[in-house]
């Protein structure tokens, strides 16, 4: 059957099991959008307010479902607007296929209207990318793009389709099923035996896991390992939601803003078993001092991550689920009462430090201070503490609800405090730290699953992509937006407080934005809250309304994210209170 390139794109997407795509039309994808219109009953296209929103939505869709997310944009500015979303997906290993239109092949290289070499631009932030100049290669290139995106360590792939390729006509034979990923690498037996030997010799093992556990669906195996060797568990930001947060062995995230007990336990251990994580600088601090006390076994699907950031004592490449499944029988059941006791002490110490920091924060509330945020008109006699907000929201959510964040202080507060129960319920930009990620990601996650979605954001992050309120409203998704509004760019301000003599350069927002009116203007509901009673009431209303509801929470600008390992510091430099 001979069909147009545009139709081939849509048919291939459907063949690959794609039910929803996110995008924005334009001159060089008009043929493609025509096919999306014709096939609107077979594939759903969600129009965002901006292409960046579309790429974050495809990312959110992929993280929430585990499927490949797809976004579509026109050439030039449409394509470049996708880039931040593609880079976000790249840094967090999210499977995505981005399709861009381009000017006809004859106009490429002539600086034509809306022409950008998007393949060149996205080369450093994609697993791979293609420009299809020959219609005969279009279908197979798209299939390969899906294959690459979901193989091994997932990631984004971009396919650039010039307009004349969309209009050309060629044979198309649909495949009966989506492409399968490339075969996985499996850990070698000999290396797993070495790992088992190292674990047997260890007295104080600590398991450090990352997003690889979620992608590799290895939560059960992870817990089984911890049980068998009686070890505590800590994770990276990307690892959150792999385990129920209330699991007795789980100490929480470690690293720059991780839990005190988790970071200290890692430092006091004699063996760190790192599973599907990559020792990012936010997790390790000073790399020279990081592993002076312990040995490391590092297992990851991506061999390039092994010995990249931290040199391990034993590096094993392989699928994490399979590796753990085979490693566990090689180990003997062990009890470590002394290590358990020490972990309990650390948990107690953590509680004490959190209370002490909270007391200091309470004393320094904005009510008594002369900081510029007073003048923003936002500060009032009452403020909510960040943990209070997370607690009240989480009391009302179910374990299937999807939690999304933007980037900054609120992100860390949620990461520290929210009781995640199921994998793929926590969506956050970890590697790239993309402010403005949240709205798009929430739309992608919610429109895919129709699950209730809660976006925690800050007034800074929300300001970056609040235009997507329009999309959320037109899609009528069950989305609760919780703004932790402190009138400042809190995370940078925190650094300025600690390391820049309180020179609050450009972090005091002084905006007069009324988020409630804004929500209403977009067709959503909104309310501003100052204390826990108001938040309780607003939450109940928001969760009952089943559409877009914005809760603007007053937060003090002197709330800090604690503990904090200063950048480039190590565990000795941990800050647990700021006076």
């Amino acid at each position: 059957m001979k069909i147009s390139g545009a139709k081939i794109v849509v048919e291939t997407l459907i063949e690959q099991g794609c039910d929803t795509v996110f995008g924005y039309p334009g001159g060089q994808v008009i043929n493609l959008f025509d096919e999306l219109y014709i096939n609107r009953n077979r594939i759903n296209h969600i129009l965002t307010a901006h292409e960046q929103g579309a790429s974050h939505a495809a990312d959110g869709y992929a993280r929430a479902t585990g499927k490949v997310g797809v976004c579509i944009a026109t050439s030039g500015p449409g394509a470049t607007n996708l880039v931040t979303g593609i880079a976000t997906a790249f840094l967090d290993s999210v499977p995505m296929v981005a399709i861009t239109g381009n000017v006809p092949c004859s106009l490429i290289g002539k600086d034509s209207f809306q022409e950008v070499d998007i393949v060149g631009v996205t080369m450093p932030v994609t697993k791979h990318n293609f420009i299809v100049k020959d219609i005969r290669e279009l279908a197979d290139t798209l299939r390969t793009a899906f294959k690459i995106a979901k193989s091994g360590r997932p990631g984004p792939v971009l396919v650039d389709v010039p307009k004349d390729v969309q209009t050309a006509v060629w044979d198309f034979e649909p495949k009966t099923e989506p492409v399968r990923p490339y075969p996985l690498n499996f850990a070698s037996d000999s290396k797993l035996r070495l790992a088992a030997e190292m674990i047997k010799k260890a007295e104080r093992p600590y398991i450090y896991f990352g997003g690889g556990i979620i992608m590799g669906k290895a939560s059960q195996e992870l817990l089984a390992l911890a049980e068998k060797i009686d070890a505590p568990l800590g994770c990276s930001l990307m690892g959150l939601s792999a385990l129920p947060t209330n699991h007795p062995r789980f100490l929480g995230m470690n690293g720059m803003h991780g839990h005190y007990a988790s970071s200290v336990a890692q430092d006091e251990s004699d063996l760190v078993i790192c599973l599907g994580a990559r020792f990012s600088d936010r997790a390790t601090g000073d790399k020279k001092r990081f592993n002076k006390n312990f040995k490391i076994i590092h297992i990851d699907i991506d061999s390039a991550e092994l010995d990249k950031n931290i040199t391990s004592n034993l590096a094993i490449q392989g699928d994490i689920k399979d590796a753990l499944f085979r490693l566990i029988p090689m180990l003997t059941e062990t009890k470590r009462p002394e290590w358990d006791k020490r972990i309990e002490e650390l948990r107690e110490e953590e509680k004490r430090r959190i209370e002490s920091a909270a007391a200091i924060a309470f004393e320094k509330r904005c009510d008594n201070c002369t900081h510029p945020c007073d003048k923003s008109g936002l500060a009032s006699e009452n403020h909510l503490s960040p943990y209070q907000i997370v607690d009240i929201i989480s009391k009302n959510t179910s374990e299937d609800d999807i939690i999304v964040t933007d980037v900054g202080q609120h992100q860390m507060w949620v990461a520290q405090r929210y009781p995640f129960m199921k994998p793929r319920t926590f969506l956050t930009s970890g590697g790239l730290g993309t402010m403005g990620y949240g709205m798009g990601a929430a739309i992608g996650a919610s429109s895919a699953s129709r699950k209730r979605t809660v976006l925690f954001t800050g007034d800074g992050s929300f300001g970056m992509n609040l235009n997507e309120l329009a999309t959320a409203v037109s899609q009528n998704i069950p989305l609760v937006i919780v703004i932790m509004n402190n009138g400042v760019l809190g995370m940078v301000r925190q650094w300025q407080t600690l390391f820049f003599d309180k020179h609050y350069s450009n972090t005091t927002l002084n905006r007069k934005t009324d988020f409630v009116k804004l929500a209403e203007a977009f067709g959503a509901k909104g309310v501003r809250v100052f204390n826990s009673e108001e938040l309780e009431k607003a939450t109940a209303e928001a969760f009952a309304c089943n559409s877009v509801y914005l809760i603007d929470c007053a937060v003090d600008c002197n709330e800090f994210v604690l503990p904090m390992l200063p950048p480039g510091g190590s565990i000795e430099d941990i800050i647990t209170e700021i006076k």
């Binding site: 060149g120 450093p124 697993k127 791979h128 390039a304 092994l306 040199t311």
Partner: protein, 168 residues
Amino acid sequence: MHNNQFVIGVIVSNVSGVLSRVSGMFTRRGFNIDCLTVGETESSEFSRITVVFHGDDDIKHRIIKQLEKLHDVKEVEVLEPRETVIRELLLIKVRNTPSTRQDIMTAVEIFRSKIVDYSTTALVCELTGETSKIDAFVELMKPYGIMEMCRTGMVAIERGDTCLKTEK
């Protein structure tokens, strides 16, 4: 070959953009390339890139693993100098004067170089060999007045019947 210098042979798909993917990876990851050459292979499907860089074993391993991650890269191998024939080509244009002509011709003969273009004012010599030989010849020509020169950078192939080739 200097100490800490490595030569890697890379077989890549012969498609447009592959050179920028490979060289871009080096830039992006902060690896320094000493030289890079690319050319056809016996199969039209593949090109062969020879990369020379310096660093320690850690960097070598990281470079290999990053190269292996690229979709268009089919084979990567470190070529051990002792097991490898390494060659470079030099074209050098030297000033031709009656007083220096004979000396240049002698050097050309001793180095088994070739004069490939001759005019009354300039000579173009061609020389292949290992880098050290090329360096020595260039050094020797300096006093006679080098007008311009270009070198291809190293190409390398393993000795014996071992091949760096994808199974196809």
